[in-house]
């Protein structure tokens, strides 16, 4: 059985379609990555799946319950944490835990047990009486996740949980997500960080409200870009890019620091052609040219640009 089944889900705000006929399934126990640019419709989709926004049409089953007619049952079976970490800053750590336990109806032994668990995962043992406002961002975020799953939901929605957090805290946070996943919890997470997407079992990408790609990281890299990609390292990145973009055999280009990634339209082009063009014709020193397998970033830029062009036409 799938933990989440999304069927033709659509949300319109007046004339604007924020989510356009989206379909996907999330398998029980997996970490499911939900990617897309700001304003692509990720948060709107999540808000519908957690039962606080009604879809215009279509439906979804979350833990077997319809988000349209059974949103009360949906809410009992999910946990949710957003980028805002909805903790009360003017309460202490333990007061926050007690409050969230209270609204999910935990008490007695169960409460004590879950409190201990939350304090442990947030690294806040013996610090229960500290004011939440004084905690560092990374700790606060772990506490927020802990309280969001205090009632041990089968499915957890995380809406950009790591935005604005330092890399080490980010890594620790993902350890916690993995721990939950190993315990059998299904996790749907939205993120901007493509390195985080690599941790996901399955990924979908949406653009302008439409689903444009789905699969695991490996499948995405191989299925969506068939043309070869060259990675070029040169002295003058911007100049090189300008020269390359004039060639007919150059498809999409993008800059990664000192490197340029070029998707070729013509698979007969090889490293030699690049050296010829840049070094011999234009006098730009080329350090290295290498054929690479695409990164997720290449795939997403490629897909989003392709989709945006289609939308303009």
């Amino acid at each position: 059985m799938n933990a989440i089944e999304v069927n033709n889900l659509t949300k319109e705000f007046g004339k604007f379609t924020a989510v356009d006929n989206v379909n996907f399934n999330v398998k029980q126990g997996e970490i499911f990555g939900f990617l897309g640019a700001n304003g692509a419709g990720k948060s709107t989709t999540i808000r519908m799946l957690i039962g606080i926004l009604e879809p215009t049409s279509g439906d979804a089953l979350v833990s077997g319950y319809s988000i349209k007619n059974q949103s009360d049952l949906v809410k009992k079976n999910i946990g949710y944490m957003s980028q805002k970490f909805s903790l009360y800053n003017d309460l202490t750590v333990v007061e926050n835990i007690r409050f969230f336990a209270g609204i999910y109806g935990l008490d007695g032994k169960k409460y004590e047990e879950r409190k201990k668990w939350v304090l442990k995962v947030a690294n806040l043992e013996n610090m229960e009486n500290v004011m939440t406002s004084s905690l560092p961002g990374g700790i606060k975020q772990r506490l927020a996740l802990g309280t969001a799953v205090i009632h041990e939901p089968k499915i957890v929605f995380l809406d950009e949980p790591t935005s604005g957090v330092d890399p080490i805290s980010r890594r620790n946070f993902w350890d916690l997500i993995n721990e939950l996943s190993e315990g059998g919890t299904t996790i749907l997470v939205t993120t901007h960080y493509l390195d985080e997407a690599e941790f996901c079992n399955d990924i979908i990408l949406i653009n302008a409200g439409k689903l444009i790609a789905q699969g695991n990281a490996k499948a995405l890299k191989t299925n969506y870009i068939k043309n070869p990609i060259l990675e070029i390292e040169s002295d003058r990145v911007v100049d090189s890019l300008e020269i390359l973009e004039k060639e007919k055999w150059v498809g999409e280009t993008s800059i990664f620091g000192n490197y340029i990634h070029v998707i070729l339209n013509d698979s007969t082009i090889n490293e030699q052609h690049i050296y010829q063009l840049l070094q011999e014709k234009n006098g730009i020193a080329v350090k290295r040219v290498k054929k690479i397998t695409p990164t997720l970033e290449d795939v997403f830029i490629h897909l989003i640009e392709k989709d945006s062009k289609k939308n303009v036409q």
């Binding site: 926004l53 809410k75 805002k84 909805s86 800053n89 309460l91 007690r98 609204i103 008490d107």
Partner: protein, 376 residues
């Protein structure tokens, strides 16, 4: 269900305990209002300063003046002895009233002629001037009556007054305006603290985003609102007690009626006021907006339109209809009935129904607005 409501209520209390700004609004504000309104708004005219220009200097004029100042209404400030001083003393506001006795007063009285006494009153404050005129009329009438009696006694005739008017003021025998104001003040204080505190506390959750975590929990809107309002109902009852105690200690006002009826009326009023507060929280996105909206809908109408100070009966019909926008109007009727008259429920049951209707209308409006905003 009750566990969840209490979880919210407890959390709210803990937050309130640490929120000094809110505590200030909730507890200090009422005390300040009470002191200001109890002492400053006083329509009773007492201790009017008076000067006497006595050109006759007779037994009659002394008797007349001592009659005036024996009441607490007039305080004799000075005697003057020429016309020029009259203007000066009024201009400089040293006195509000100058009494001028003519030179030939005692001669005329003795020869049974009519005498004219001039009162010069500072008419800038029209209300006070009116009251002064009434006092002076009454004092002069009673002195005239005394002289008539004396005259008739000398001539051996019986004195006869055909109609003797005997007014008695019930419920407020001394016509103290504080007695009239305290119930209104209590209504105003409760509505301000109730509407402001509940709307701010809900909007703060919206502003900080914590409401989202509550929206995704199985907590229903009713549980959330009940949990939120319980602490403020308790606080409002404490406030009501403070006002009643202060009214007793400072202004001698005792509860004449049944205390359970008072509690019932207060609950009905709090229901109406809190539902207004909940409605305001649904239409405001920031605490600032909520504070302004709460002030405009609670403070001003309860001050001007509730009958607290200005009698509703003397307003134009259109304004009389408008007075229904504040639940304080209904509550003040209930309070005056219970506190001052000691009346039973038959005197104000209709007001309880109005309060119920008011509360239901705003809760319904809040639900509609909330549903709409959920789909944005």
């Amino acid at each position: 269900m009750f566990n969840r409501i209490f979880a919210i209520a407890k959390k709210e209390m803990r937050q309130l305990k640490r929120d000094t700004r809110m505590l200030f609004i909730v507890f200090f504000f009422p005390v300040v209002l009470l002191a200001i309104f109890g002492y400053a708004i006083n329509f009773d005219v007492h201790h009017i300063k008076i000067a006497v220009y006595d050109q006759d200097r007779s037994e009659y004029t002394r008797d007349y003046v001592s009659g005036l100042i024996s009441s607490e209404y007039f305080d004799l400030v000075t005697y003057i002895d020429n016309d020029d001083q009259i203007k000066k003393i009024l201009d400089e506001k040293i006195v509000q009233v100058v009494v001028v006795f003519p030179k030939d007063l005692s001669r005329k009285l003795l020869s049974k002629q009519e005498v004219k006494i001039q009162f010069l009153v500072d008419g800038v404050d029209g209300t006070s001037a009116n009251v002064i005129q009434n006092y002076v009329n009454a004092a002069t009438f009673s002195y005239s009556l005394q002289l008539t009696k004396e005259y008739l006694a000398v001539t051996g005739k019986q004195f006869y007054v055909p109609i003797d008017l005997q007014p008695r003021f019930w419920f407020n025998p001394d016509l103290q305006s504080t007695r009239f104001l305290i119930p209104g003040l209590m209504g105003m204080i409760l509505i301000i603290t109730a509407v402001i505190s509940i709307s701010l506390s809900i909007v703060r959750e919206k502003e900080r985003g914590t409401i989202e975590q509550i929206n995704v929990s199985p907590l229903s809107s009713i549980e959330f609102i009940l949990g939120k309002t319980i602490p403020y109902i308790v606080i409002s009852l404490i406030n009501a007690t403070i006002v009643l105690l202060a009214g007793y200690i400072l202004f001698d006002i005792v509860i004449k009626g049944n205390i359970f009826l008072l509690l019932l009326g207060t609950f009905a009023f709090l229901f109406a006021a809190l539902s207004l507060g909940v409605f305001i929280s649904t239409i405001s996105d920031s605490q600032q907006v909520a504070f302004q909206a709460a002030n405009v809908t609670s403070l001003l109408p309860s001050l001007i339109l509730s009958g607290f100070i200005f009698p509703i009966e003397s307003m134009p019909v259109a304004i009389q209809i408008l007075t229904n926008i504040t639940p304080a109007k209904f509550y003040i009727v209930i309070l005056r009935a219970i506190l001052l008259r000691g009346a039973g429920i038959s005197a104000f049951w209709d007001q309880l129904i109005y309060l119920g209707i008011f509360g239901i209308i705003f809760i319904a409006l809040a639900t509609v607005v909330d549903k709409k905003s959920k789909n944005k």
